[in-house]
């Protein structure tokens, strides 16, 4: 035993670590998404199950594939692919054609995340990027379906956005849904829009676990409400703007994405407020759909500049303490030799 070599680990300080890891955080995000996922399963049953499984599977396979091609170590264990997959599924309606969901997931994870360098290097929220890419591609889909009309039964319906959502009805002045059902559960729009309360529950959990701070959701919702109040001139219609559409899901789960949101509380407030203003401008001035996704992605692009302009002063940089110090600089006491 005496001659046995010690195998001591040599590593730089510090020699302690907190238990926090990326996979813990991602697991908590999945947990936080469970309530709204459950409500969507309740409303849409098998079609929701199908959509979610398809997206999760596509997310995992896309990440594996790109990591393999790019010769990078596998990172599935961080759980971010599952989060993106589930978020993509929650952005779509239950009747969405399976291949659109796969395409959105593929573009989100493959292009917006892995080709940018992997988790941490992506500038745009992968789920929203995938979702919007598919929306933009609709004209091409139309062309393809017309050209390959016989294949239509295989590919399923083309509707990506045409469902009558509460927001669309609001725009047409034909809102039928009451606030109470919007808050509790309402089977309209995407899976993630089926229950405001379920999304709020998940968001509260993330804030409680300190994975996200209140700044981004609060500034988005506050701005949407105030803008809504001014634009609609009506308290309950302003509330509808918050409860309907993807605002809540976006405010708690997409805009708060660590990688694509600003670092400091001040930056987060600017970011959230800008998203709220953009969203409401889209809703009031343009069409009723996809405002949230566009607003978040636009602001994702502004994150580096927001970080730069909100850079906080270093410790001691603000010269506030001069007054507290004895003013007279007297000669050094007992100056050495």
């Amino acid at each position: 035993m005496v001659d046995q070599e010690l195998q001591l680990t040599i590593s730089p300080s510090p020699h302690l670590r907190s238990p926090a890891t990326v996979s813990h955080a991602m697991r908590d995000v999945l947990l936080a998404l469970a309530p709204v996922t459950a409500v969507s399963l309740y409303w849409f049953k098998f079609s929701a199950v199908f959509l979610i499984i398809v997206c999760l599977g596509a997310a995992v396979l896309t990440e594996l594939l790109f990591r393999k091609i790019l010769k990078r170590p596998a990172t599935l264990r961080d759980g971010s692919a599952l989060v993106t997959g589930l978020l993509v599924a929650l952005c779509f309606g239950a009747g969405t054609a399976w291949w659109t969901a796969i395409l959105a997931t593929f573009i989100g994870i493959g292009l917006a995340k892995e080709l940018m360098g992997g988790l941490g290097w992506n500038r745009f929220n992968p789920a929203l990027f995938g979702r919007l890419a598919v929306i933009m591609l609709v004209p091409i889909f139309n062309y393809v379906t017309v050209t390959f009309a016989p294949l239509r039964p295989f590919f399923g319906a083309l509707d990506v956005v045409t469902q009558a959502t509460p927001l669309a009805m609001l725009k047409q002045g034909a809102l039928q849904t009451d606030l109470g059902s919007l808050l509790l559960a309402h089977p309209g729009g995407a899976l993630g829009e089926t229950s405001a309360i379920a999304v709020l529950l998940g968001g509260a959990y993330l804030i409680y676990k300190k994975h996200i701070s209140w700044h981004i959701p609060a500034s988005i919702l506050g701005t949407v409400f105030v803008y809504g109040l001014i634009a609609e001139g009506n308290f309950s219609l302003a509330l509808v703007h918050i409860l309907a559409g993807g605002v809540l899901l976006g405010a708690f789960f997409m805009a708060t994405d660590w990688v694509t949101s600003p670092i400091t509380p001040k930056g987060k407030l600017i970011f959230g407020t800008a998203i709220g203003v953009l969203l409401m401008s889209f809703r009031v001035l343009l069409g009723p759909t996809e405002g949230m996704a566009f607003s978040i992605l636009i602001m994702n692009a502004c994150v580096p500049i927001i970080d730069r302009i909100t850079k906080r002063p270093r410790f001691g940089e603000v010269a506030v303490q001069e007054a507290a110090v004895p003013a007279a600089v007297k000669p050094a006491v007992g100056k050495s030799n």
Binding site: M1, V2, D3, Q4, E5, L6, Q7, L8, T9, I10, S11, P12, S13, P14, H15, L16, R17, S18, A20, T21, V22, H24, A25, T75, D78, G117, G118, L119, G120, W121, H211, W258, V259, T260, S261, I263, T264, D307, K311, R312, P313, R314, F315, G316, E317, V318, A319, V320, Q321, A324, V325, P326, A328, V329, K330, A332, V333, G334, K335, S336
Partner: protein, 458 residues
């Protein structure tokens, strides 16, 4: 009781239970001591002894003409066997005086005098002659720190001991309260400050009580209870907590009229003035989940850490029997299977240095030896920054460790400096909280090195 603190920082598990109630003990002398000639901030010393010379405990063996330097003394009676580069705790070799320890040691005698009768110059000379340096870890020569070029209105005695595991200052606080207060008063006299604050974290209630009893009735001294938060014992954070003054970037505590001294340093000042005793021994904590008998020990400077570990019962699960060790040679044999010991750290767990060998000597700034089992050894693989901002949230210097890390990793050092790398004092919080396990402190060190090289090239 009001509890003060600074902004940000982090609450760490403190692991102090292992050794906080163990009184300071002494251990036997090793066969050989290795005393590095450069164990302080500033200019290295050159040896004033050569191989073959007989030296006495406390005899000066190294000196330097530079102002920012500290004298080196022999810590034992013995014979110098070599003056040569030897392994140092940072991993490099440092010119050291190697002394074979006499089996028979003469008890050193230090003539006592009344320190209150000393003049300022005499105090300063005593501190300089004793080779005292900051014993909290930074090892900055104390006589330099006590020659501030401007008026000082407060002395702060740093009794925070905010690093987990370490308890040696805590023990000194209780066991040497009188010497500590006397040392603090001497420092106060030297810098002509009207007030002394003792900053103690609230996890040492017995220390706070002992100090309060000792200073009762003295208006010029005050014990300040501080929150148990890391890095409360960092000078700038300590001054902020107690005085609400911020030391500007690139400035020192005296720029805001404060002098900070660690507990052990203040006690050393007292001993230097009262007994003219040089700094040749110190108290350190030997602890960790892999230590057989965690405790606080008084050791001579230059004692190899292997000797201390051995004297303190060795590694947990591998008790050391008399005669099991090969004592014919002066080397520290390996006496634990690797499954019992994963890492040995010199200093605290947040800023200390991992050791690869056991013949590395204890120096004036060594506050602890930590023995970790393999289970305590942290992983070093890291992934990309996910911008969770936890490091930004906790950074006590208000920097952006996330950007520093990413820029330094990609070789853009000037941008890393722009986001604050040069102001970092490497407390390690950013690495501790990072979910991607990024070695940001390493990135900072690399940035400082590169920036210094770039400046030198100009």
């Amino acid at each position: 009781m009001t509890v003060k603190t600074f902004n940000r920082g982090v609450f760490l598990p403190h692991f102090k239970k292992l050794s906080e109630e163990k009184p300071i003990t002494t251990i036997s002398l090793p066969k050989e001591v290795v005393i590095p000639l450069h164990q302080h901030t500033g200019a290295p010393c050159h040896a004033v002894v050569k191989a073959g010379d007989k030296v006495k405990t406390g005899q000066k063996i190294g000196e330097s003409a530079a102002f920012v330097s500290a004298l080196i003394h022999s810590s034992v009676d013995g014979t110098v066997t070599a003056v040569e580069p030897r392994p140092y705790f940072t991993g490099t070799d440092v010119e050291s005086v190697v002394i074979a320890v006499n089996p028979k040691q003469e008890e050193p005698k230090w003539p006592e005098r009344d320190p209150s009768k000393l003049t300022m110059d005499e105090i300063k000379a005593a501190v300089k002659e004793a080779g005292i340096v900051g014993m909290g870890g930074a090892a900055f020569p104390t006589h330099v720190k006590l020659s501030p070029p401007r008026a000082i209105d407060a002395v702060i005695i740093n009794a925070c001991e905010c690093e987990p595991f370490l308890t040696c200052d805590h023990r000194l606080l209780i066991e040497s309260t009188e010497a500590l207060v006397e040392g603090a008063k001497l420092i106060q006299k030297l810098v002509d400050a009207p007030k002394i604050y003792f900053g103690v974290e609230t996890n040492k209630p017995d220390g706070i009580e002992a100090l309060n009893l000792k200073i009762a009735g003295d208006e010029t001294m005050e014990v300040v209870a501080l929150d148990v938060k890391y890095p409360q014992g960092s000078e700038k954070q300590l001054i902020k907590a107690i005085m609400d003054r911020e030391v500007p970037p690139g400035k020192l505590p005296f720029d805001v009229g404060v002098v900070v001294q660690n507990v052990a340093t203040a006690i050393a000042v007292c001993e230097a003035c009262r007994f003219q005793k040089p700094l040749y021994e110190r108290v350190l904590t030997l602890t960790g989940d892999g230590a057989a008998k965690p405790g606080n020990v008084r050791v001579r400077i230059g004692t190899p850490i292997g000797h201390i570990i051995e004297q303190c019962g060795g590694f947990k699960g591998a008790s050391i029997e008399e005669g099991e060790l090969d004592t014919s040679e002066v080397r520290y044999p390996v006496f634990a299977p690797p499954h019992l010991v994963g890492k040995i750290v010199m200093g605290g767990p947040m800023t200390g240095w991992a050791q690869s060998r056991l013949d590395v000597p204890v120096v004036k700034g060594s506050s602890g030896i930590l023995i970790f089992t393999p289970a305590m050894v942290v992983k070093t693989e890291h992934t990309a920054c996910v911008r969770c901002a936890k490091c930004v949230e906790h950074c006590p210097m208000f920097l952006y460790p996330n950007y520093i890390g990413t820029y330094a990793e990609t070789g853009r050092y000037s941008q890393a400096a722009e986001w604050g790398a040069m102001d970092c004092f490497e407390c390690g919080i950013c690495v501790y909280v990072c979910p991607s396990n990024r070695p940001i402190v390493q990135f900072v060190r690399e940035t400082k090195k590169q920036i210094a090289a770039a400046r030198a090239a100009k």
